[in-house]
């Protein structure tokens, strides 16, 4: 019987990890252009592994990755689990239900317990903004990866978005990227803002005025050093789509209507749904993206979601590659694999 041995990943460790100084990945606000480029090039190499018949590399053998999700998630958690397992890490998934979290064990106690079990990486998703910072503050040996905290940040999603745009358009610099939807409550949009402005993309935000983070954008024209100085806000979607190279559509939570922020989903769809009519009129070749899960018929029409210009499925694949890259950069041993 022939044994098929996985070909080893040849990312020269010195080259890859030399540029990497982070112990945690909490948001993109502290990533330099070089660090973003490093993640994306590492992800590119990881994507090579995903294309193989035997998707396995021994890079993280003997490393423990624990996902700790206090919010439901299909794609992000499965993505991290897949990423870890392809790299031969031991992956353990914990969720709020069915664990001692239900018994009231605090987030900190849980994290310290997992660190004591020699977890190398802790992937946390939590409904409260700042929860990963709180945990990271108390970690001495475990790296924390933010898989989404409240309405604050979702750095791995933003990195895979950047990767996807770069893959399709070659470069991000100068590209016009439109983000449509509930920007104020979207941790994806917020991390995208940091990442896209950092790499020199032109960002346009569009959505209902009650769902626009005005405070975050305040002073951007007048204040020197404002990170979002170049960001445009255009509430009219027909105008916002003009000249867009990329359209990122955000999921609209139905709860926003209940909270009084929107009169109805019907009116939202009339004014801000990304559909064939709008895209055909303005920019038929724009790359279409969505972090998922989609509310087809609300923020995005089914036709557009499954059209040729949709990169939504590639985003999912790229998500695995990006997460492999991050786990590698954070956890892989420094000596040659």
């Amino acid at each position: 019987m022939r044994t098929v041995r996985a070909r080893e990943t040849r990312i020269p460790p010195d080259q890859a990890q030399a540029g990497w100084r982070k112990r945690h990945v909490l948001d993109l606000d502290d990533f330099t252009r070089e660090e973003i480029a490093l993640v994306l090039s590492t992800a590119q190499a990881m994507k090579g592994i995903l294309r193989r018949a035997v998707k396995k590399a021994p890079t993280l053998r003997g490393k423990t990755v624990i996902t700790l999700f206090y919010e439901p998630s299909t794609r992000t958690r499965a993505s991290f689990e897949t990423a870890g397992k392809i790299l031969s890490a031991d992956v353990i998934n914990l969720s709020a239900g069915g664990s001692s979290i239900e018994k009231g064990e605090s987030l900190l106690d849980t994290a310290l317990t997992l660190q004591a079990m020699a977890a190398d990486a802790l992937v946390i998703r939590h409904p409260h903004s700042g929860a990963p910072y709180f945990v990271a503050r108390h970690m001495t040996s475990t790296s924390v990866i933010n898989a989404g905290d409240g309405t604050h940040a979702h750095p791995t999603q933003a990195l895979l978005d950047l990767f996807t745009v770069q893959e399709h358009l070659g470069t991000l610099e100068g590209r016009r990227v439109l983000i449509v939807g509930d920007i104020a409550h979207s941790r994806v949009a917020r991390s995208d803002l940091w990442g896209l402005t950092r790499v020199g993309a032109q960002v346009v935000l569009c959505g209902p005025p009650t769902l626009m983070p005005w405070d975050l954008l305040k002073g951007r024209e007048g204040t020197p050093g404002h990170p979002f100085a170049s960001v445009e806000v255009e509430l009219d979607l027909d105008r916002a789509v003009e000249g867009a190279d990329v359209v990122i559509v955000l999921r609209l939570q139905k709860e926003r209507q209940e909270a009084g922020l929107l009169p109805s989903l019907r009116e939202y769809a009339r004014l801000w749904q990304v559909n064939e009519a709008r895209l055909a009129r303005e920019r038929p070749s724009a790359l279409l993206m969505h972090p998922g899960p989609m509310n087809e018929g609300v923020e995005i029409s089914p036709g557009v979601a499954h059209s040729a210009q949709s990169a939504i499925e590639q985003q999912v694949t790229n998500g695995v590659a990006v997460r492999m890259a991050l786990l590698y950069l954070l956890c892989a041993p420094r000596e040659a694999v």
């Binding site: 987030l107 903004s129 910072y133 905290d149």
Partner: protein
């Protein structure tokens, strides 16, 4: 509280704004009351007395805190009357007004009497009770104000919560008129501040935290001021925190309305950037140029900076300081709000609101004096005479070093530098954003009724 203690405080720089007195000399307290002040060494007291050497130090009337949470009865793991009043003593406070959001709340004579008896037995400083406005602080039915007034409350407040119903507030102000006691409101519109965790603004948006807009305080302050005008009642605004609220108070005073206000030390100095973990360089507390666009560090989401009303912006702190100097704000009150470590060692959304402030109040406020924005005399005035005037008859013998006043003194070193170590607090509440901060200005000794209730270990022992 011991009565009849005599104490001679020597060679201090006596600073008594109530009389406009500034004198290098001695202060003699006889049998618990101020007997005289005199230039150093010029007058000898009679009888038995202890001495306290105040050489190089400022001798001020003991501070009065109008707004303080002692947590007892009901929340003794956060604080007790014993630990809270010891913390007060360490902060130079010789009188504290205990807020009634205890369990049970102070809404009956029985609970007020419990507090007073406990304070008598275990308190290190004077404790004056504040009664609730409504039964159970539920905002529906007025308490028996006459009964509580007779039991000794110095005001009424549902603090912790606002009086949300304007009709109830109107009735409270009207009914309270004969008692000559203030109705103290924590102004915060519930609908506008619903799930807010910090000041609504750039920092909250940056951190992804829900905000409490300044308008949540201002709409209710405006409402209450109109009700004060309508009813002729005495409205006192607790812990105002916005430039807009200050403006409302200023205009109310110009209209001749009976509206008074207090401000906390943290609302005069700290800003919402402290939640991001930005503190300014070397003790400058954000006076130096902040860098709000820098990436967040692990110091972000500091739950010790979570307080209600929240820390706001520099525009607000400047306006409040100006109002304090002009006398639009009558008094500084700490809103000392101790919590257990469990209540603060969690995510920002989960954390309790409150800063343990008694022991850092003077040191924090001195940053304003050292910056040249406030004189020491005005600071002391707003901590002594200002509050005393709002206490009516109870305040007549407090906040002053005139002959016959209570022998309550704070001995201060305006230049002593020290590092805030919450684990060394007398308060059970270690929750302060100032942990590790270097302050310049320290309370060296505190005297209540002639008895030294606190003395810094570096100060000389009374001989």
């Amino acid at each position: 509280m011991a009565t009849g203690t005599s104490l001679l405080i020597t060679s201090g720089r006596i600073l008594d704004p109530s009389q406009g007195l500034e004198l290098a000399g001695d202060l003699f307290i006889q049998a618990g009351q101020v007997a005289w002040t005199a230039p150093a060494g010029q007058r000898a007291p009679e009888g038995q007395y202890a001495t306290l050497d105040a050489r190089g130090l400022v001798v001020s009337p003991g501070f009065i805190d109008l707004h303080c949470h002692l947590r007892e009865p009901g929340y003794e793991d956060k604080e007790t009357i014993a630990t809270g009043t010891l913390a007060a003593a360490r902060g130079g406070f010789t009188t504290v007004c205990a807020m009634p959001n205890t369990e049970p709340p102070l809404d009956t004579a029985a609970s007020v009497e419990y507090l007073l008896r406990k304070a008598q037995q275990e308190g290190h400083v004077r404790v004056l009770p504040v009664g609730c406005i409504t039964r159970g602080r539920k905002g529906k039915q007025l308490v028996e104000m006459a009964e509580l007034a007779a039991a000794g409350v110095v005001g009424f407040s549902d603090d912790g919560d606002p009086v949300a119903d304007a009709y109830i507030m109107r009735m409270a102000l009207t009914y309270g008129v004969p008692f000559g006691l203030p109705v103290i409101n924590h102004c915060q519109d519930p609908a506008l501040s619903r799930i807010g965790a910090m000041h609504e603004g750039w920092t909250a948006s940056r951190l992804g935290l829900k905000g409490i807009p300044a308008e949540a305080e201002e709409v209710m302050a405006a409402r209450d001021i109109e009700l004060a005008a309508l009813t002729g009642g005495w409205l006192h605004l607790a812990h105002i925190s916005t430039a807009g609220a200050l403006e409302l108070v200023r205009r109310a005073r110009e209209r001749g309305l009976r509206v008074t206000a207090e401000v906390t030390p943290h609302h005069l100095v700290l800003t919402d950037e402290w939640v991001m973990g930005l503190r300014g360089e070397g003790g400058s507390f954000g006076f130096a140029q902040e860098r709000p666009f820098d990436p967040l560090t692990l110091a972000a989401y500091d739950t010790n900076a979570k307080v209600n009303p929240p820390l706001r912006t520099r525009r607000d702190t400047s306006a409040l300081l100006q109002g304090l100097k002009e006398g639009v704000i009558d008094a500084i009150a700490t809103d000392h709000a101790p919590h257990t470590a469990v209540d603060k060692t969690c995510t920002f959304d989960e954390a309790a609101f409150g800063i343990s402030g008694l022991e850092t109040a003077f040191g924090l406020l001195m940053a304003l004096v050292h910056r040249g924005d406030l004189s020491l005399a005005t600071l002391i005035e707003r901590l002594t005479v200002g509050p005393a005037r709002l206490l009516g008859a109870r305040g007549q013998l407090l906040g002053s070093l005139q002959a016959g006043a209570q022998g309550d003194v704070a001995v201060l070193d305006p230049d002593a530098e020290w590092v805030v170590d919450p684990q060394g607090f007398a308060s059970k509440g270690k929750n302060t954003p100032l942990a590790g901060a270097r302050l310049k200005g320290k309370v060296m000794a505190t005297v209540v009724g002639g008895r030294v209730v606190y003395q810094d270990k570096l100060a000389k022992a009374p001989g």
